[in-house]
Symmetry: C2
Subunit: 229 residues, 2 copies
């Protein structure tokens, strides 16, 4: 039984990949080079895919800087730094990339149907950093309907299911789960800044560092600055 | 008021582009180079975009031959030739590309949200050649829900609408509409075969030629073979 796993190389999607393997699925990971500021994450995606020993890893390339619209796809828009966790979840952040998960899930769906896979795993999370509209349960449910109605497998009564095992977990709970599954955190990548060392100041670094700290654990990744310790 | 129009360069999407212009929208056309067998259609998309005098035309590139799964994206799978119209609609054809419209609509959504557009026009059609699951009204409705729930504009109560003006039209009715709108048919492209002249034998050519014939009109495009005349 085959599953396609969306793998950014970050903490959440790496945990989901290990979860899919633990659930006994033949795993096919898919990553996206969309000319994101933090393309460095793709090196981590490859390392994690290799560590997990999956069946196949596809990297799909396209260019979302064609129209930008986000701090992650338009170099002229700066990303937020050094914000408290409260501030992060006030509004939809400028790091929101329009329709990103819809694009990602569409490609995953295309590959899954070609593989005759049963499941797509995605590491969306609605609790921490919940400002992204395409990380919430009702959005995932709407995509599930698209999967059911818009594919041959769906029409034939065998729709591909979306599984979002982290959707109701806090970041600390994800770390606990990943520890149980043996995810090699030092190989993952969360930083938005675009450097070769994680910055420690962007929302993504801050959220990750705060969660490790709350658990009394040390994040094994190196940071340029770590205001949490 | 801005609208994004999915433009393949074919008869249907060209008619839709002209319709969007007639409806008074500032038009932004989007086309896709997915390494399709019939990439020749992109030349037609450019010509139609130019003829219609639209605001901007984006061509987004990615590679669906990475996994294939269709006669249009896997050169080892042959496409059907010389089929009657009855045969074409019996089952989901091998020219079905898994999740294609979902991918296309996702990119259109991303661009539309960046432009702060109100509408996305798509030339899907559920009557003729209705074997494609992602051309039916309930699929379009499911995508509309995704647009509403998965974007900033949607969350803020201003979701982008999907408009599918051809969904319940027969091919002959589309041609009549296009004639009224002044679509230059000789610049469009429907053929799946991948040559520089339309083959006249693939399902797409047959359907188009049959419709012109039924109307007592001549298709101004040149064909290598035309079994209808």
């Amino acid at each position: 039984m085959k599953a396609v796993i969306l793998l950014s190389g970050g903490l959440d999607s790496s945990t989901v990949l290990y979860q899919a393997q633990a659930d006994g699925w033949e795993s096919y990971a898919i990553s996206f080079d969309y000319q994101q500021r933090h393309r460095r994450e793709l090196e981590s995606a490859k390392a994690i895919a290799h560590s997990a020993g999956i069946n196949q890893h596809q990297i799909v390339s396209f260019d979302l800087t064609l129209w930008g619209g986000s701090a992650l796809t338009d170099r002229k828009i700066d990303y937020p730094r050094d914000r408290t966790l409260d501030r992060m979840s006030e509004t939809i952040p400028i790091t929101y990339v329009p329709a990103r998960n819809t694009i990602f899930l569409s490609f995953a769906l295309a590959w899954a149907e070609t593989l005759n896979a049963q499941r797509i795993y995605i590491g969306v999370n609605a609790l921490d950093y919940s400002g992204y509209p395409d990380c919430r349960p009702d959005y995932i449910q709407a995509m599930q309907e698209v999967f059911r109605l818009g594919t041959k497998q769906g029409i034939e009564g065998n729709p591909i299911s979306i599984v979002a095992p982290l959707i109701n977990l806090k970041k600390t709970e994800i770390i606990k789960l990943g520890n149980k599954l043996g995810v090699p955190w030092e190989k993952t990548w969360s930083c938005y800044a675009g450097g070769e060392i994680a910055c420690g100041l962007c929302d993504s670094c801050r959220l990750r560092l705060a969660a490790f700290e709350e658990l009394g654990l040390k994040d094994p990744l190196s940071y340029a600055q770590n205001t949490n310790t």
